[in-house]
């Protein structure tokens, strides 16, 4: 990882962040409004939602598909259903000039073949399905996707260019 990326703010597991380029008041679990990264995604999925005309970006580090049972201890972006709802709602609160939102997603790999009791899919596969489902339910079109496989990913998301750079451990890069 470059020195520039080292200094970027990381969105940790179960966290989210919403930034508007040029505005110094980010929402969620971050303090700056520039590019953000998620380091070492395995089965987790990084979801970046953009409002392209307004340079607004929401980035969530999702661990699991959907909350089972009650309780309010969870971080807001731990589950795909809750995280995507929060990103969409809070991005609207920040500006409702243009309703159009698009998403780019990465992660959900099968690092290891481990399954929860009673499940036929890995947690990575379940995460990808859930993210696609809840984005669709909120009317957010997926413009770029780098998901599945058996390798980890680090992503860097830019609110200005709406690019998501996906990096592998071998240094390969792909721009979504």
């Amino acid at each position: 990882m470059s020195a520039l990326e080292d200094s970027m703010e990381n969105v940790g597991m179960g966290e989210y962040c919403i930034v508007k380029s040029g505005d110094n008041d980010p929402k969620g679990n971050c303090s700056n409004t520039d590019k953000l990264k998620i380091v070492g995604l395995g089965s987790c999925v990084g979801v970046a939602i953009f409002k392209p005309k307004e340079n607004i970006m929401g980035l969530a580090h999702i661990m699991l598909p959907k909350k089972q049972g009650d309780g309010d201890k969870d971080k807001k972006a731990k589950y795909a259903d809750k995280a995507i709802g929060i990103l969409v709602d809070e991005m609207e609160e920040l500006s409702n000039n243009s309703p159009k939102k698009v998403a780019k997603i990465a992660g959900g790999s099968d690092m290891f073949k481990v399954f929860k009791d009673g499940e036929k899919e890995t947690v990575g596969q379940r995460n990808i399905k859930a993210v696609r489902k809840y984005l669709k339910e909120h009317g957010v079109k997926i413009l770029g996707e780098h998901t599945g496989g058996e390798s980890g990913r680090t992503i860097v998301a830019d609110p200005k260019t709406q690019e998501v750079i996906v990096k592998s451990v071998s240094g390969e890069e792909e721009i979504l």
Partner: protein, 201 residues
């Protein structure tokens, strides 16, 4: 941090982990022909999502084992790629075989040797804990990965997060006498099963 298990209750577990790690070092010494000793062991209760600083993009070679029964969780051994090469080649040399020292990638023989390290190490660790507590603990066959630390650890933490808010992290470091090779061993266990397990100690 939510403490579901009082910290003093972890003392017998800490003792047990130290004994298991000692056994692991002896087995590693025998298996790799390199004197290996335990450097440090930490046992802590962590909020799963607070584990962020441990999830880096550093490259590591891993042997990953799921444990089930009276104690549920994951045992993950991490090695730097160059250390993993040395361990694999040392084991292969003992069997009269040669690995691929020139290539950074791991061939099937080297992967197999490293998974055997995972197998032996897991058996030492898990059997030690099961015997001391008169419990039944099963372990899955080890799986290999050569990737980012974050990507290696997050499936285990995510799966545990489906059941519990916090996990017990047993984090041990072992090294060879010349500090040429360092092993990092993580045991993440489900706090719910751990309470019953501790009572048996």
């Amino acid at each position: 941090m939510i403490l579901l298990v009082e910290l003093e209750d972890l003392n017998p577990l800490n003792k047990l982990v130290n004994e298991s790690v000692k056994q692991v070092s002896e087995d590693l010494t025998q298996m790799t022909s390199m004197e290996t000793h335990s450097k440090i062991s930490r046992i802590s209760q962590i909020d799963i999502e607070e584990f962020g600083e441990g999830l880096t993009s550093n490259q590591r070679v891993a042997s990953f084992v799921q444990i089930s029964g009276d104690l549920e969780g994951f045992l993950i051994i991490l090695l730097k790629p160059d250390s993993a090469k040395k361990v694999a080649n040392s084991m292969l040399a003992d069997m009269g075989m040669q690995g691929d020292k020139e290539n950074d990638e791991f061939n099937e023989m080297e992967k197999s040797a490293l998974m055997e390290v995972g197998n032996i190490l897991t058996s030492s660790f898990v059997d030690g804990m099961a015997n001391a507590s008169n419990s039944e603990i099963n372990s899955s066959p080890p799986q290999f990965a050569n990737d980012m630390v974050g990507a290696i650890l997050d499936p285990a933490l995510s799966m545990l997060a489906e059941e519990t808010e916090t996990v017990i992290s047993m984090d041990s470091e072992l090294e060879t006498s010349e500090k040429e090779i360092e092993y990092r061993v993580f045991l993440f266990t489900n706090t719910n099963t751990l309470e019953d397990f501790i009572e048996k100690l």
